[in-house]
Structures are given as structure tokens and as C-alpha cells.
């Protein structure tokens, strides 16, 4: 049943997402592709919207995917799923173990997880980039280059770097999304 699947999938996402927003994209992508809920393009669309609206990306993604697969109830189930592990774990920590981080083995475990998440984010990004710009998802695919996309990527990347040098702070994601939207219209 879709509601249970949504709930359980996002329960998993909520339970193992360390490292903030983009950390859980890897798992959400895995679930969405495995269940055939979204294509990679649709996933990227959702992330774009989730980035531009208030609220944590994980929760927004859950609401969005849940709605697209199971309507209102679906979005409720997915959102509840993604929030529940945090809720329970934090309640336990706040009420019982006051500071879990005091324990060295816990810090040791987290010290392994942190670089792992960095690796996950990179590999998810690279995998999706190759798939988007070159049309290659697995080694048996033919090369389908997306030059328009490559141009936009280069523009956004260079633009960001230049902006950061001049303005001394990073451009806001919403600004970048807006610019890329305009370029999308122009290029395609």
C-alpha cells in the first residue's frame, strides 16, 4: 500500500540523514528510483522547489513526493515518517541521556559518518550530473550529451565563484535557481 511505503521509506530517510539537507538526497533518490516514483529529472525539479521554499529540504521533499504519489494522505504519511525518528531520538536524548555527545564511542561513530556523508553528497551529485549532462546512467548507456545543460552549469558555477569573490559571500540558492530558470528558457 502506497501510504505505508511512503511512511516507511521516509522513516528510513529521517532515521539516517546525518549532515543536513543534502545528506539525505542520496537516500531519497534511491527510494524514488527504486519504487519508480520519480525520474531523476522530476527529482531534481522537486529539489529545486524544496530549495526555494521555507522549511527543511528533507521535510519538503517528503511532502512533495508524498503528495505526488498518494495525495494529501500520502504527503501526511511521508512527512510524518521523515519527522518521527528525529522527534523520538531527540526526546530520548533530551529526557534521558542529557548529552549523548559526552560519550566517546558516540563521537567516534559520528566521526566516521561525517566524511561518509561528504562522500555521499559528492557521489550523488556526480552520478546525477553525468546522467543529466551526458545521458549516461550505467555503463551500457549511449552518450547523449546535453550541451545546453553543460553551458548552464558552467555559467552558474563560474557566476557563483565570481559573485563570491566580489560580494564576499555566497550567492543565495534562490538567486541561482532564478538565473538558471531564465537560462533554461533561453537555452532550450
Amino acid at each position: 500500500m502506497i501510504y505505508l511505503k511512503l511512511f516507511l521509506s521516509f522513516l528510513e530517510v529521517g532515521a539516517v540523514s546525518f549532515g543536513g539537507g543534502y545528506g539525505m538526497i542520496s537516500l531519497i533518490r534511491e527510494k524514488a528510483l527504486a519504487y519508480g516514483w520519480l525520474t531523476e529529472g522530476e527529482l531534481l525539479n522537486f529539489i529545486g522547489v524544496a530549495e526555494s521554499t521555507p522549511g527543511p529540504i528533507a521535510v519538503n521533499m517528503a511532502t512533495f513526493v508524498g503528495s505526488s504519489q498518494g495525495g494529501f494522505l500520502g504527503s501526511l504519511c511521508a512527512t510524518a515518517g521523515v519527522v518521527l525518528p528525529s522527534f523520538i531520538i531527540i526526546l530520548l536524548i533530551a529526557s534521558l541521556v542529557s548529552n549523548l555527545l559526552k560519550y566517546k564511542p558516540v563521537r567516534a561513530f559520528l566521526s566516521g559518518v561525517r566524511p561518509c556523508v561528504v562522500g555521499l553528497i559528492f557521489s550523488t551529485g556526480v552520478t546525477m550530473l553525468i546522467s543529466k549532462l551526458a545521458g549516461v546512467s550505467s555503463l551500457t548507456d549511449k552518450l547523449v550529451p546535453d550541451t545546453g545543460g553543460a553551458i548552464i552549469f558552467a555559467v552558474i558555477a563560474l557566476g557563483s565563484i565570481i559573485y563570491t569573490k566580489i560580494a564576499k559571500k555566497k550567492p543565495s540558492p534562490i538567486l541561482l535557481i532564478g538565473i538558471s530558470a531564465l537560462f533554461g528558457i533561453v537555452v532550450y
Binding site: P56, S67, I90, A94, L100, L101, V118, L120, S160, I185
Partner: protein, 204 residues
């Protein structure tokens, strides 16, 4: 209940509504992820309303960062609990989710129809590329902030390379396993270094 819990309980009765509305406001204005929300929380809870001590707040921020799940949710639950026990944590967490839930759900209703317009569809093709850039730059930012010791760098590259390779060769290996395995490696590495330390001390 001991005295402290009783005090919290009584405080809790009068605080649920203000807590609800404060978290609703924060949920509406948190763009850009958990860290932004923590700044907003600091503003509201310490600066304006003085509901929480700075020390408690810093504890919360550290925990919210290290436990699984979205930082914003962790922080909301924790602060809610400190303010008003379990009821507070429920009120706080639900309140912080409501604005984004309503916004996203509404968008989702029109999204497919919206995408039917060629202009919108093309705009989103551009946005997809931008999202990829954002993901990669998030990775770079985390990498820069990370201590570049052998352990960390090895894990980053090992996970990165293995995952891309598995994906290209269509091997299924869930994200969860990577996280668990790396966590265990971290714990084992710690115990090994403790054993080494004890041995060195024993030799003195």
C-alpha cells in the same frame, strides 16, 4: 514527578500557545536549512523571549547537528521539550512543519499542470542543472569544513568512488549501509587508538 518536572509542567500550561505561534513563524521564515533556523531560534528564544539559557541553547545546537534527521526538526523538538515537556515538543515540531507543508502541498497540486507549459518546463531544465551545482557545492563546502586527516579524506574518496562505480555498474548498495559501515569504522578506529594508547602507557 520531581520538583523540576513539576515546575516545567506548570510553566508548560501557559506556554503552549506562544510556543506554537513562535515555531509557526520560524517555520515560515526558515530558508536555507537548519543552520539558518538555529540563527532564527537564537533570535527568538534567547534574544526576544528569553525562554532559554545560552548554554542550553548551545547544547541543543550541537545535538541537533549530530543526530540524524533535519536539523530544524531536531532543534524544534528539543526546544519544545525544554520549554514544555512532551506536549511542548509535539506542539513545537508540528508548528514548525505546518507552513512548509501547506506551501509545498499546494504547489504539488499545480505542479504537473504548471510543467505543461513549455516555458516552465524549459525553465526547470535549467533549474535541474542548478540543483546539481548546489548539491556539488554543498559537498565542497562540507569538505572544506572537514578536518583533512588521512581518515576523513580516505573515507570521503572511498565512499565517493565506490558509490559512483556501483551506480555505473548498476550494483545496488543502499546509502544506509555506507553510513552504518562508516560509523562502525569510526568506532573501531577509536577503540584501536585507545588500545594503542593504553599499550604505550603500559610500556612507560
Amino acid at each position: 514527578m520531581n520538583v523540576k518536572d513539576e515546575v516545567m509542567y506548570l510553566k508548560g500550561k501557559n506556554i503552549l500557545f506562544p510556543l506554537f505561534f513562535t515555531m509557526l513563524k520560524i517555520g515560515l521564515f526558515t530558508f536555507g536549512g537548519g543552520y539558518a533556523m538555529i540563527a532564527l531560534l537564537e533570535d527568538e528564544f534567547i534574544g526576544k523571549k528569553k525562554w532559554i539559557e545560552r548554554d542550553e541553547f548551545l547544547d541543543m545546537a550541537a545535538i541537533a547537528e549530530s543526530t540524524p534527521g533535519p536539523i530544524a526538526i531536531n532543534a524544534a523538538t528539543y526546544i519544545g521539550y525544554k520549554m514544555a515537556g512532551v506536549a511542548g515538543s509535539i506542539v513545537s515540531t508540528v508548528a514548525v512543519c505546518i507552513p512548509s507543508f501547506i506551501i509545498i502541498y499546494t504547489i504539488s497540486l499545480f505542479f504537473d499542470a504548471f510543467l505543461e507549459y513549455k516555458l516552465v518546463a524549459n525553465a526547470f531544465k535549467g533549474i535541474q542543472v542548478c540543483v546539481l551545482y548546489l548539491i556539488l557545492s554543498a559537498g565542497v563546502k562540507l569538505f572544506k569544513g572537514m578536518k583533512k586527516n588521512a581518515f576523513n579524506v580516505t573515507l570521503v574518496f572511498a565512499v565517493g568512488v565506490v558509490m559512483v562505480a556501483f551506480s555505473l555498474f548498476a550494483v545496488k548498495f543502499s546509502t544506509i549501509y555506507y553510513i552504518l559501515i562508516c560509523g562502525i569504522i569510526g568506532t573501531v578506529a577509536f577503540f584501536l587508538s585507545e588500545i594503542k594508547k593504553k599499550r604505550q602507557e603500559g610500556e612507560k
